[in-house]
Symmetry: C2
Subunit: 477 residues, 2 copies
């Protein structure tokens, strides 16, 4: 990101005006488009708002932009002289298509994180850098030869990785499968995208957990699906609710995250697991089992996945490297009946021609390497330690103000906030105080909940992060 | 891919029956699903068809499968006893959703290539392994430290790669842009997917070249777009045709591949370039400029892209690593106005959370390394040499039977076949004779054309490949 140079002889506002003029000339902001707001640019370029106002004044004087109260600053349509009579109305194009924009709270969080490097991040649902197997992966890259053929590969995923995943699934998740039933994806996100876009049709009804990560994904709405909710308690969803939704709405699929559910941390009880499968068998209803967190289990072995006891082939199983290794690798997998794997691989071909071969090679080697088991041990110990740090800080700073169950796996703590405060205000105050979390409504929950990710911040930032949040909360009571 | 073991004491048909039983037990072929045909399995497992028939007999005897004439062999619904009353009707799910399956000819070609390792591949539109910078990339991987943070990255693409692409675009394509106007994608394919899905709405009209690579992409139809064609001659499309389509059908975008067009090799003439931009400006009509081949130019510098002379911001520019380095890396880029980049990055977030960080780091380093320029020189020389080998073989084997223009860049030779023969038959005969090409109708052309990719086969396979094709063609005259 460009920043003005404080050692430059030219005043800051002139540098900024020159920079914007250049971006406009490059077509980055075509005639008629709106420039970022003064406030936003001031934060981005780390200058006072008055400097931005002066820079906009320069551009206006040159006839390059026009400002109208309430409509922001626009690139002048006149700028290019008579030559191009019209520029495409890009903002209309940006609003077209089938994708809904991401949720406002999630956008605001990303924006805040991008603008303020010091912000303590308890919002991003991922591992801190020091929990990822960065050294191990760097070592693998140095040790192995990557002179493999770099042509278009099978859109189903590279064969060595599918074989490694099949071994991994048997050893770590008790799932018996073969490489031909596995589809490699760009993380669980893409698995969910493929399922919602390619296997379900607009207007069809599906069931998702409430609260749930799925609810935070506009992709369900983008696919035109009707969403029905399955309330989650300590023991996960209630199977009889599935039956009821099926009777009432002919749901076509059920999305579950049975182990250390995001955001609640709930684990689907054994009894309910059996009943869910029984029902799915009776109704011929596909279950999408999203299982990214199981190997983070702090204490005992995590419960077996539905897929491992699914005899009727009703379960589509989704796994990912993101929460147990590194989200930036973008490697995930799906286990599904042959016809489904073929169909999705075919759709994949149209979307992106499959995953880059490089992360696939590395992921396959890592899964099979002697580094994998010790990495998992270290990960589980650190996550439990960080969970305890967060709970300790909550007890110290927020006693009587929050309630929660300590999760036994996963990356998050799900809190009920006892004082009634407006969510948006609380988020803004937190950002101002120096930390971000995710408001519960993002996951479709009732008012008054929040998700804190202890996996993401550094150990030493957890207590200060909670202190910032506590200040924000208290300021609104 | 599993194969029966000829040293195993058990007969082949028993091994195959056991293997299929296992895959059925794993849910890979759920109750009610259809097994691959006897013919297909025989080719895949490299056994006689009678062996498959015997294996199916075994499974039938065990009550695991049922065969009905004309309906293939299905997994028995009874197999699981009374427990699961219904399995999801997976084939219904596989037919749902918004994606059309890939074109039958393309599926057939991929299938043939997967089944017969010896087939000479003049169909896949990509570089041969020895033209890719495999050594250079392996060296970069060994030299550099990949201890970067592996968390979720900016869905717009990693900053160092966007900077490297901005420099590359200025130096090699005369395009002035900044990193904030660049979106990194999983190749041009994903760029086209994002544009058709996110910027255009179902029912809208767009113009594509005829013949054209776009026509081979079911993604245009999957997005529900109405396609109108712009005939391509030696000088590319005729700008006045664009005007006419705009008047008649209110087309919302024009997709062009101005340099070394796929499949024809045509180059849009200078005069027409100017007129296209003029029209686009007048009509406020976005031009999608797909430019994957320019740096393969054999002789002179390739013509400048439309984007480099686009002053009104009407051009969305698409580039890729696939045809100048390695398609398996899956790295491409798009240059677009700010509002569009933001919108697409947001959609990206829903689809796959962006590209894996690893290929992005490598691609950025390669673009900036001292290896890049020599690689391009070597690539251009080899491509020209392989083009000449193909033309020589055509002259020898097919004189009087084909007509073509020698392309001055790109990977393909576009041929008119003078004898009238049915395309499907010609493809099957070619496969039987030992080579594959792409029938012209895949690109929407009139009957009697074929695309031969000289970049893909090994040098020593080009003449034999043409000989195989010639045999196939002659057998049908
Ligand atoms: C339950 C669940 N599913 C899927 C995902 C997507 O993860 P990825 O695409 O990185 O594998 C997440 C990430 O937060 C998640 O919590
Ligand atoms: C004109 C054109 N555009 C786009 C593509 C897609 O290439 P990739 O997605 O590998 O960049 C191709 C590949 O054949 C092509 O020929």
């Amino acid at each position: 990101m460009w920043k003005p140079d404080r050692d430059d002889a030219r005043p800051l506002y002139v540098q900024i005006a020159d920079y914007l003029e250049q971006r406009i000339a490059y077509g980055d902001f075509p005639p008629g488009s709106v420039l970022p707001s003064e406030r936003k640019l001031a934060v981005q370029l780390q200058v006072n708002r008055s400097t931005i106002i002066a820079a906009f004044g320069e551009l206006r004087a040159m006839g390059i932009v026009e400002s109208h109260v309430g409509r922001g600053t626009r690139v002048s349509m006149m700028k290019w002289g008579a030559a191009p009579r019209h520029t495409p109305n890009w903002s209309r194009y940006a609003e077209g298509g089938q994708f809904l924009p991401n949720l406002p709270f999630m956008r605001r969080i990303r924006e805040a994180l991008a603008e303020r490097p010091g912000l303590i991040d308890m919002a991003s649902g991922e591992l801190a850098g020091d929990l990822a197997p960065t050294e191990e992966i760097a070592t693998l890259l140095k040790e192995h030869d990557y002179t493999a053929y770099l042509g278009y590969d099978n859109p189903q995923g590279s064969l060595p990785l599918r074989q490694a995943v099949a071994e991994y699934l048997l050893r770590h998740r008790g799932i018996r499968t073969t490489e031909s039933s596995i589809l490699i994806t760009s993380g669980s996100q893409q698995s969910l995208y493929l399922i919602t876009q390619c296997l379900l049709s607009p207007g069809e009804a599906v069931a998702i957990e409430d609260p749930s990560y799925c609810y935070s994904l506009p992709l369900f709405q983008s696919a035109g699906l009707r969403l029905f909710r399955l309330p989650v308690d300590e023991g996960g969803v209630n199977p009889e609710d599935i039956l009821e939704l099926y009777r009432k709405h002919r749901i076509k699929a059920v999305f579950l995250n049975p182990n250390y559910q995001n955001p609640t941390g709930a684990v689907l009880s054994d009894e309910r697991r059996k009943r869910v499968l029984e029902l799915a068998g009776e109704l011929g209803l596909p279950i999408i089992e999203d299982d990214p967190f199981s190997l983070t289990s702090y204490g005992d072995m995590p419960p077996s996945p539905l897929k491992s006891i699914d005899q009727a082939g009703t379960v589509l199983y989704i796994g990912s490297f993101s929460k147990i290794a590194a989200s930036g690798l973008r490697v995930g997998w799906m286990v599904a009946p042959h016809a489904i794997v073929e169909r999705l691989a075919d759709a994949r071909q149209q979307m992106d021609f499959g995953l880059s071969i490089l992360p696939q090679l590395v992921a396959g080697q890592f899964l099979r390497s002697e580094h994998f088991a010790p990495h998992l041990d270290r990960l589980r110990t650190s996550l439990q330690f960080k969970r305890d740090l967060l709970i300790e800080a909550m007890d110290k700073e927020l006693r009587g103000l929050v309630e929660f169950e300590a999760p036994s796996g996963g990356l998050h703590l799900w809190c009920r906030l006892l004082p009634e405060v407006p969510e948006g205000k609380l988020l803004e105050e937190s950002i101002a105080a120096g930390t971000v979390f995710v408001p519960g409504s993002v996951y479709g929950s009732d008012k008054g909940y929040a998700r804190f990710t202890f996996a993401r911040p550094k150990e030493e930032d957890i207590a200060p992060g909670v202190a910032c949040f506590a200040r924000a909360l208290r300021s609104l009571i």
